[in-house]
Symmetry: C2
Subunit: 349 residues, 2 copies
DNA sequence: TGTTAGCACTCTAATGGGTCGAGTGCTAAC
DNA sequence: GTTAGCACTCGACCCATTAGAGTGCTAACA
């Protein structure tokens, strides 16, 4: 069977009505509301077809219909196409929502928290944001300083001005000259290098150049290298998890517990971020409906994600988690505006 | 009316039974279980008295009784006294729960997360832990390095080896000599000082000593001072918030939402930490029952907190949030063990 | 051949009565 | 002061009934 024009119209009408009311919609409702001017009986026949084709579901025999995942998918794809075509309109809207953001964020962390908060407050869904991923990025600056006699602090700055610290305990004191030499060596060798490209052979080469294979210098170099390579946990900030209680279909104990767990053990969200980043070239915004979700605990939700760009090659992810009958229209707009705003904001800094 | 010995016994029996079953307990239950050997009728009379005195509640006329906040308070106080007296016994137990903790934590952050997790998993309640407060603490080391021509990175180490970073943009280049001088000045002036004691007059004095009231040096000194004084958000890690869904009395939408919100907007937990720290000299562990809770959103829970000591004057807080009918006995033991273990662990490092 | 009116049918949600059982409060006797 | 005994209360559960929304099917219509 084919999804002809009339079926499409009816399907969209069903979904829109359901998004508004949250209740199964019957044939009479559609027959009245539409510009289609068809009787409820006709609608019923078409609806039966749509059920067969898997776009809508019948909770039980004598109830109305609700959209299936496939139905939502159809709706969202439709919506995305429309969005594409009204870019000029967006310009205007961007101004309207300026107030939505972000007073003055001195620190990245605070900014991210604010963004998450603003997202959840504006949409009434749960929101998350990941700190930008600088993993693929280049070293910019390394500095070792002696803090105490047998203790060095290493400061490592990465492109994008993110800073790592590491305190290194050494077995015997190190003199100023050696420290200076070591600083020079580290900087000349490593600056400008991608973290990924730092490997054992480079480290060995450094040790050789330092002329000391076994002593303190090797020790320090190893510690620095380890600290550089150390996989930082991907920082993720969340906001508005409590919003899920506003939607009865998510608010029962079991589902709520699953979602809350996912939010708390950021690990699952981390997967979501990686998944999003790996697809980020395709399109700005991605929508995962129900079973499509890459996060096991969110199979009953819809998840909308987008990437923002802090700087060449430094990406982060924002996401919204809500019920499947989410106001996709609003969420997509909000996401699009927000990412654009973030992008321009970062370009300025 | 007075709480005589028999009433106490009955009250305790009621509370213990309720803690086990979670259901209102009737007079017959008590009359059977007890070593008191009283008939249910007698128990009933005593129970009526206990209701009058506010230690227990009657959900409705023909139901059993449940403890009131006042009742729980009585029970917990009782329990705390007992705990005091069995310190020697604890030695043995400490071994048993070694496995509970903590493999090898390279970073403070990871350690704290592990502790929180271990707490929530072991107790089946929600858990939180605050990073140690180093606010009242002393500066140990300051280092300015030039990163780019007009950009300096400041590294500030505080007692307890906690590190702050600050990138400072300056208007014009700074030469090596000045930077060195500045480093010396900052370290000689500020090292060993409590952060609290750094005030405007000290900063002004530094500027005078540097011999430059308006130029780059003043600029840098100001930036460093600001960074030192900047109030870091108190870091709080949580775990097992989803545990609240295991307790029906907390799992309805409204209450769950409140608790989850408190966990997510760490602000309320911050209050809890401050409250606990301000009382920490009284006693190791504190129990807040229902209305006693300093956190508005947790009026339906019980909250158990304790402080740990990382180093002289550096304290943190751990907390457990659960239903009022919490297994106080177990929670108190776990807390006590954990704080001791944390204390010794930090002493070692 | 597609559309529609009509009607029997299905299923849920809501309502109300009836029963059961746990537990109380009170009284009278020990 | 303690206890046995008993009437009473109240929620939990079960069941039958009803109302209403919505369907699916058939037969008639354009």
């Amino acid at each position: 069977m084919e999804l002809d024009d009339r079926k499409k119209k009816i399907l969209l009408a069903i979904i829109k009505t359901y998004l508004e009311t949250g209740e199964p919609v019957g044939s009479r409702t559609i027959s009245k509301i539409e510009g289609l001017e068809l009787s409820s009986a006709t609608i019923r026949n078409e609806m039966a077809d749509l059920v067969d084709m898997g776009y809508i579901l019948q909770p039980h025999t004598s109830a109305g219909r609700i959209p299936s995942d496939k139905g939502y998918r159809f709706y969202v794809d439709q919506l995305m196409e429309e969005k594409e075509q009204q870019i000029e309109e967006r310009e205007r809207e961007t101004d309207e929502m300026k107030g939505m953001l972000i007073e003055k964020a001195d620190k990245m962390e605070r900014l991210l928290k604010q963004v998450a908060r603003s997202l959840s407050v504006n949409t009434n869904y749960a929101a998350m944001i990941s700190a930008p991923q600088y993993h693929m990025n280049r070293l910019k600056f390394i500095q070792l300083s002696r803090m105490e006699e047998k203790r060095i602090v290493a400061v490592i700055v990465v492109e994008g001005n993110m800073i790592k610290n590491q305190i290194i305990d050494i077995d015997e004191p190190i003199d100023d000259e050696t420290l200076l030499k070591l600083n020079m060596l580290l900087n000349t060798t490593l600056n400008g290098m991608a973290i990924e490209d730092i490997n054992l052979s480079i480290i060995t080469k450094m040790k050789q150049q330092a002329g000391d294979q076994a002593g303190i210098i090797a020790e320090v170099i190893d510690a620095v290298a380890e600290s550089i390579k150390a996989d930082e946990d991907l920082e993720i900030y969340t906001s508005g998890a409590n919003n899920i209680f506003k939607y009865p279909e998510l608010a029962d104990n079991e589902k709520a517990s699953e979602i809350i767990t996912a939010f708390e053990e950021k690990k699952q969200l981390t997967n979501l971020v990686y998944e999003t980043l790996s697809h980020s070239d395709e399109k700005g915004i991605q929508v995962y409906i129900g079973e499509e979700s890459p996060v096991e605990n969110m199979k009953d939700c819809s998840v909308v994600t987008a990437t923002y760009e802090l700087d060449e090659g430094i990406h982060g992810t924002i996401g919204i988690i809500g019920p499947k009958r989410m106001d996709y229209d609003k969420v997509l707009s909000t996401m699009k505006k927000l990412t654009t705003e973030l992008d321009t904001m970062f370009k300025k800094n």
